[in-house]
Symmetry: D5
Subunit: 161 residues, 10 copies
């Protein structure tokens, strides 16, 4: 049975056409992002980001991923190869999808407290969202399993000149 | 030397006046949120949330915190006691402060990939931002210490009726 | 112990000053909205709406409510008496508070399906939000009690002229 | 006579193409959402949500619904089968359609009173819009029939950590 | 000479394709909305609303209007027949077209005074925009003819429960 | 019994302080806008507009109105006398109050049809919202009295140069 | 060499397709707006407005302009002939193009002073943007030539009724 | 009789307090902007801009203007003297006041045509809103006097580097 | 291997189709903007601006650039030749891409301080963004190379008239 | 003569009250930011940022700056001492002041080209706005002096995990 990922709706309509091709191929294979990630030794969230054009595969990674998904690598290399750079940031803001909105709600409700604790522990600066790693884990819990989202970003102190 | 936390500027202008009093008292004592948190057996991020009126102290906690900070508990109980309920969500959106914006940028850039991985691991549902715990840790790193932000929320499957 | 309801923060800052006085008096008495409602034979949600200046008490109701709450009725009658009309609609949109946001999310996610079913059952028209009654009930449930929100509004067919 | 549901206009333009196909097939059969719902033992509002890609059919349900509507199940399974996850939240905000706007107006006018009553009856927490059921009933009334919209959602108390 | 009404520009791009076909057919015949309205015994403004998918023709009206405009009724019945419900509200807000903006300006400038007078004359409630009739008349005036726009809507008193 | 019109809430907070004084004086006298209007030979809607600083009294009218309302004319003349010009347009947009929103909804739903009929009857131009008169009448109706809102504005043809 | 005016980008994507045809034909001929304007005895700014569908040619003007630009008049008459009315207002707001933004900046910076002077010289009313003429002239200046933009609009006093 | 210019309402609430003092003093004297302008040899529109803190008086001009208006120059020099720089741009956007909106409408409707003509006459560049002069004149006309607004700005060609 | 630059996604979807052709040709050749720039003696940032339709090549430059990139010059001259003028300003605001957002953040955080220093050094006026040159340099640094962005714009003093 | 910097207007109304005191003291002394900066060995732009609460002085710097400006250091230390952290990002967006808008325009017009060149020279990553230095220089030029704004920020490559 074929699996289609319509490319004309949000957020894919904003992205290079190869993105829906990659997602379709992955669906056809019935693979998880983690399975794709293992092909190139990366994390599943990072690979998901790359599938949504929010991170950049190397040409070598693109070839390996395409091959693993039975997809000719030519279109991928042509569209999101070395000459291409991600145009990051997708979807409406504020997000309307409840999964995304809950993340946004975390910023609304806990953003200021998090900022206060970061300053207390590190001083004047920020948590980098560039030099950062993001993980999503499933933690078993008798009262209902839990999503554990970890954002591990370098602290960058403000320059003073 | 006195420490003032002006109550008329963002985000405190949106909050009960006791909030700036609590922050001032904490500054006067020179305490961290973690020190306040230990008084009532809670986490520092949760206490910071409560100081910014984004979480609700019990009356008993309010008394202990007030006492620990050399603040009469009457104003606290009067303003944010049992009869009061948080009006959550503070600050402008999109946030302009770079610390807050980086969290918001995480939603813009990694929100869709996180959603994709959550669905893959859990099915159709969300990570609760109500039954959730948030921690901010400092991880030593020779290339620069890192902020490790963990959001641990219960997975809630969508009802089907 | 006194109970204060600061009038300078959202949404009270948008409302006649008597609103925070009424809420304070109610907190001082330790009454529920339902207890206040019984004084004048109304529903608790409607009374809450009137306390937030979203519905209009009659002069007689204002007198009875003030008396029951040990509040002189003069200020109430002076501010929100017969000559006053509600200026409805409060709080930011989209709402940032999670309780309010969930109601808003219901419109985002289920609004179109609800519209489709209303048309199917009633034809071309709307559910009135003027000739309507709203109730909030607590339903016991072993897996966690449930909020049952009922909106009962007259169907108004579109005029054709 | 054929019935067309143009897929290029709001909100269908935001949704997988199968959505307009399902709505067309239902129109062709002259069925109500309730009739479709009975095929799979679900409620009409939930089925309407699934037709608008705001809820997720199981593969089995998709097959039954397609068959009942004389539609080949292949396209449905290909587009909104197991590999697909709803991207929830449709239509403009604030809504411009009067049926949808009235729901939104309920949030503007009665949202804060509802929040106040929920807190009074349940404490600090929210009504879940994930573990919730929504019904639309027609209540006969000599002065004009009424729409009775019921939202039955689990109360979720705020975690304190 | 043919008359084309391009369907890909605002507000027609938001509407069922039949709308531009109806407007084209009317232009080809050189008819006014009033002439179309007389065919089905309705007012010209209501018919214009129906041509812009803001009101709903009965199947019988659609057949008569199609026939009168030398248009096969099949497409009309297929697109905006019994199974279709208007998705009301069109064009950008605030409107940019000066004709529409002047109506919007009336709300900005005279809306509050109109509200004050309505309350004074009717009490707490609204003028229905569902049970309402709208007319546009031309009144001769030596200093320049005048547009007389009349909105005649039922007063709906607020329910109190 | 005194009647207070708090000046610090919307829309009065945007207006000269004399506005709430005028509204208070009118409330104290128990007068309608029509009664005030008769003092100076004007219409009630226009007088309401002037009370909300959306129209400009002459100095003579201000004196007569102040006197009729037992208000010293000095403050009125000082604040909104000859040297003052209205800064028109009040309240949030889109309006949240249901009375005002219904007028706004008329623009959303019927604005384009009204524009179409105006062009058909008058050609390329607009209905003036400057050279216009607005009336609000109560029309008795056994099924419920009706609000008849009339906007009578000069047609202004577009200049061609 | 051909000259193409792509019709799918802003602001042409909002306009009838004939607009890009007219602009292309003008470019092919190498004419200025002034040369086109002389064909029908109008001003160049007005003709530019008509080319961007912001003003309405008469059928006769359309024929003359089409003929002068070696364009068959049929498409023009079909699309923007007698049955068509401009839908005015184009481009994003605030404008992003620096030429347009400077005009917008004039409103931001000098709008209030201009209003103050208009009221001083004319009383309570507005400068009509309907009965108005706009010119753009080049004035030689040794320090750099200057653009002289003149807006000549009828003063319209506010009606008082 | 005193003339008050309340400083707490838009746009004065955004401006240095001296602005309302200057406007009050001018009102008290009964002067026009032109009369003030003659004191320092400037144009009335420029002086109005300076009164609304949108242009900068020299210290000498401030002294002369204060003296002419019987105002001590100390407050003016203290608030908007040499150390002060205008923070330009006032009022809401889009403007709600009809006088200001008409200017804004000119940008919406005629902005693109004006841009097209500027490029045709001058090439790639802009009309400066910094090196510009703005005048408002009254032109007598038997059909109604006209406002002639002239914006005379230097053409600035785009740098190419 | 072919290199494709999809023209239907942001910001290219807003630009003349030739833009993606130029970017594709450059990618196919494997050239930098600097290499293209040397062909016509311009800076790389300016050439990048021209490739994104934010600056205007002369016809001669277009021919040279097309030839150097093995592209027929006809399409370029046809689309963005002499008759074409840039419609400047691209991408969403606030920008969501982190590279662009950092520039925007510079305005939010350092804009007011930069304004203060410009006024101190130059008086009342602005830094021209028309008569300006922008460079991007790479500065080697043992702690991590640095981007040096220089904006060199003419100071324009405010006219006083 | 005293110099006042009113603290209740934008952007100072958003900032700790000490900010207007510091700016007033600097104005009273007649110092430039550069003169203040020399007291603590910093750059003038950085000091201006600190005066507008967009950067953080050390306690020692605060003491030296206060002393140099004849200001008691107590208020400064109390308000923006060690316990305080900047809440960065000030003023409206998009900015309305022309000096600030020109910087914003640089992002709109040249942001995408700058991004393209940064990627070409550095790969996938951003220019840090945290580890960055900003300078404003005056460059003499016979055709008009020029503002040279330099932003020197560390390149941060995107993490891949």
């Amino acid at each position: 049975m074929s699996q289609a990922v319509p490319s004309e709706i949000s957020p894919l309509a904003q992205l290079p056409p190869i993105c829906s091709k990659l997602l379709e191929a992955k669906a056809r294979k019935g693979w998880t992002f983690d399975q794709v990630a293992k092909v190139i030794g990366k994390d599943e969230v990072w690979v998901a980001a790359a599938f949504y054009a929010q991170a950049k595969f190397t040409a070598d990674e693109l070839r390996k991923v395409s091959e693993a998904l039975d997809l000719p690598s030519a279109q991928a290399l042509s569209e999101i190869g070395d000459h291409w750079w991600p145009n990051r940031g997708i979807g409406p803001t504020p997000p309307t999808d409840p999964v995304l909105y809950r993340l946004y709600e975390a910023v609304l409700v806990y953003g200021t407290p998090i900022k206060a604790v970061i300053h207390e522990k590190f001083g004047d600066g920020i948590m980098s969202m560039i030099d950062c790693k993001i993980n999503v884990d499933r933690k078993a819990d008798p009262k209902g399993d839990r999503v554990v989202l970890t954002i591990d970003g370098k602290f960058l102190p403000y320059a003073r000149w």
